[in-house]
């Protein structure tokens, strides 16, 4: 299999800029950013990695029930996340902590979910960032339906148009829902971008267990463009995503982006990657590290100096420390919250159950229990 075919790249692993790259869709991709914007992307990458590392540590210390790390996928998430406009809508899986961060959502939100305090309590309407979806691929249909609504509302075709982005992994492409989302979005010309982070593994199952052809090529069969981008190249993911979003909001329908990347850690803290993948493979990917390559570029171009890098590290560390403190002092929800929000307008059976539960709990008041 030609695993590397037609990879859009704008920054080599050594930090050399590539002016423009032509994708398999025939589109020429390039980015022109200010020095401040380059530095901003670097700050995002480092911060997101540092917060993720903190969450992994908190899980190891028993403070989170589980954690789905994004280690290695920072460029795919920050590049695509920064390509979004405020009016765009995001439908994430459970690993999109970097996109969530780019959306301006308090990074404690996913930690409270994995700690078991709530089920992800940011407001999807306010932040235009949907709930984390744990059932693989289910959210691609929600994204498609939402995009159909945008088209119905006439919010496509102009610069103030809206677009939707759906995140999912390589494993999700095996799901029926993802394929149904491809069909629906194509048939209704829905303004949606499918952003697949191909991190090479679905828990332990390698990409060869999901497909016999590069994933981006699937789009052709559904009738819309597919692009494979270097997912460890934040400039390329930014450029490709921005173009696909413009394409969608211009009323030209969906695009499938395959961000070719690698999950450096475990699927979640519950599994052990040493059981299913060779150490040399991870080492090879380490040489393509998204942060190191942007740092090399910034250094070579004199866009950033040692004091900048040190400052970013320090600030990221401070954020992580604050996050840790907040997680440790996060209160458990009240027991009666179990019964809240099952239905918008309640249910008599549930009201009755809650009353019994409360009376039962009250019966222990003043006792030693």
């Amino acid at each position: 299999m030609e695993r590397e075919d037609a990879l859009v790249q704008l920054l080599t692993p050594d930090g050399e800029r590539i002016d423009r790259a032509v994708g398999p869709d025939g589109v020429e991709y390039s980015v022109e950013l200010t020095d401040e914007e380059y530095r901003g992307l670097y700050r995002d990458l480092v911060t997101v990695r540092r917060l993720d590392a903190e969450a992994t540590a908190l899980q190891r210390q028993g403070e989170l029930g589980i954690w789905a790390s994004l280690l290695g996928q920072e460029a795919a998430q920050v590049g695509s996340g920064r390509a979004l406009r405020p009016q765009d809508m995001v439908f994430p899986t459970y690993r999109e902590h970097g996109v969530l961060y780019c959306r301006g959502i308090d990074p404690i939100m996913p930690l409270s979910l994995f700690r078991g305090v709530d089920q992800g309590a940011w407001d999807p309407n306010e932040f235009r960032f949907g709930m984390y979806t744990i059932v693989i691929g289910a959210q691609t249909l929600h994204a498609t339906g939402y995009a159909m609504g945008i088209a119905k509302d006439g919010k496509v075709g102009g610069d103030d148009g809206e677009a939707v982005i759906a995140y999912f992994g390589d494993g999700a492409t095996s799901q029926g829902d993802v394929n149904e989302a491809f069909i629906w979005s194509a048939v209704y010309t829905a303004p949606v971008v499918f952003f697949c982070q191909n991190n090479q593994y679905a828990i332990s199952e390698p990409i060869e267990r999901q497909t016999r052809v590069p994933l981006y090529r699937r789009a052709a069969g559904f009738g819309f463009p597919g692009v494979r981008v270097d997912g460890n190249d934040v400039l390329a993911t930014y450029a490709v995503t921005r173009h696909a979003l413009d394409h969608a909001r211009g009323g030209q329908g969906p695009t499938l982006i395959e961000a070719y990347t690698y999950r450096m850690g475990a699927h979640t803290t519950s599994d052990d990657p040493s059981r299913y993948r060779p150490a040399a493979e991870a080492e090879a990917w380490r040489a393509r590290d998204p942060i190191a390559r942007l740092a090399a570029f910034l250094g070579k171009q004199r866009i950033a100096d040692e004091s900048f890098f040190a400052d970013v590290d320090e600030q990221a560390k401070d954020q992580a420390v604050r996050l840790r403190e907040r997680v440790l002092t996060m209160p458990d929800p009240a027991p009666e919250s179990i019964f809240q929000n099952v239905y918008p307008h309640g249910s008599p059976l549930l009201d009755d159950e809650r009353e019994r539960f409360e009376a039962y709990r009250k019966s222990f008041e003043g006792s030693a229990h």
Binding site: A138, H142, G145, Y146, G149, E180, I183, W184, V342, P348
Partner: protein
């Protein structure tokens, strides 16, 4: 008073039409709902009058119908999904129970999904397999979903409008064998509450609890019993989740006897729930155990033997007789 005689199918069509007229955010979506008007013609003429943007013919994939309806609802629309037949809902089951049912809860009330999932359900029309199932217990068992079913044209007309106007996700079960039965529909009548049970026929000697297609059967049984001097009270549950058992308790306290009737298999079915709750609430009023008359614990059988499978009025009367044997 604007009463007219309609079949259940026409009444549902009229109810859908009024909902489309009242609220521009209402959209109907499903397989063949447009030009064809649905395989049972429940959406007949609606696409012609409201356009392809409001009455949407979809690709043939049930998970896609429900999954995209979720997205449309998140965008502010009120989708009414048609699942063509009961046995075809299972490919959408994950989207219904894992997503539709739970988003309000998971989001702590920040997300509402006013989605109606219409499913023609039950047997009695001589169909091939997967076309005659009674999946209500799967949905009634799922917190976050509400489940209702109509048994007559009048309820069909009002309940579909109430379900569409409700912010709750609602599984709306239509008794397909009753689509062609006629009844009076008063389009100006004050609506009876959606989630309330109703006494379909008053009586004094035993309480028969039914819903959907079995209400007609229970009423027929009551008519036959009356000829023998026994007055059966028939209660139409209408709402399967939440259950409104107040009228059932009140009735059983008077009659002392209770028989629950449904087409679905008995094992872990709605009848078990009703029997357990009636036993708990009416223990000292009961003259005999609550009995169930149901379909058998088999897959829905071939059409030539479905009359043996489906509860009929004789099986209801036999159960009533047995409640007198204790």
């Amino acid at each position: 008073m604007a009463a007219e005689v309609l079949t259940l199918g026409k009444a549902l069509n009229a109810g859908l039409r009024r909902s489309l007229e009242r609220d521009a955010k209402v959209v109907i979506m499903g397989e063949d709902v447009g030009k064809l008007g649905g395989v049972f013609r429940i959406t007949d003429g609606l696409q012609k009058d409201f356009g392809e943007d409001r009455v949407i013919d979809t690709p043939l994939a049930e998970s896609g119908i429900i999954g995209t309806a979720i997205g449309l609802a998140l965008r502010g629309y009120r989708p009414v999904c048609e699942i063509q037949f009961d046995g075809f809902v299972y490919p959408a089951y994950d989207q219904i129970v894992s997503q539709v049912a739970k988003m309000h809860y998971r989001s702590r009330g920040m997300v509402r999904l006013p989605i109606v999932i219409r499913i023609p359900f039950g047997g009695g029309i001589g169909a091939v397999e997967h076309h005659s199932e009674s999946p209500e217990a799967y949905f009634a068992h799922t917190p976050g979903l509400k489940v209702v079913t109509c048994s007559n044209p009048s309820d069909g007309y009002t309940m579909i409008q109430q379900a569409i106007a409700s912010d709750d996700p609602i599984v709306f079960l239509e008794p397909k064998r009753r689509y062609w039965e006629k009844g009076e529909v008063d389009t100006e009548a004050e609506a009876y509450p959606l989630h309330a049970a109703r006494v379909a026929r008053p009586g004094t000697d035993a309480t028969v609890v039914a819903y959907g297609p079995m209400v007609r059967t229970a009423l027929d049984a009551a008519t036959a019993a009356a000829e023998d001097g026994r007055q059966l009270e028939v209660i139409d549950l209408r709402s399967l989740s939440p259950l409104d058992l107040g009228p059932v308790y009140e009735s059983v306290r008077r009659t002392g006897r209770c028989v629950v009737v449904h087409e679905a298999p008995s094992n872990v079915g709605l009848g078990a729930e009703v029997a357990a709750r009636v036993t708990e609430e009416c223990f000292y009023s009961l003259e005999s155990p609550v009995l169930r008359v149901t379909g058998f614990d088999t897959p829905y059988p071939a059409a030539r033997v479905e009359e043996e499978y489906l509860p009929d009025l004789d099986r209801v009367l036999d159960a009533v007789d047995r409640t007198y044997g204790w």
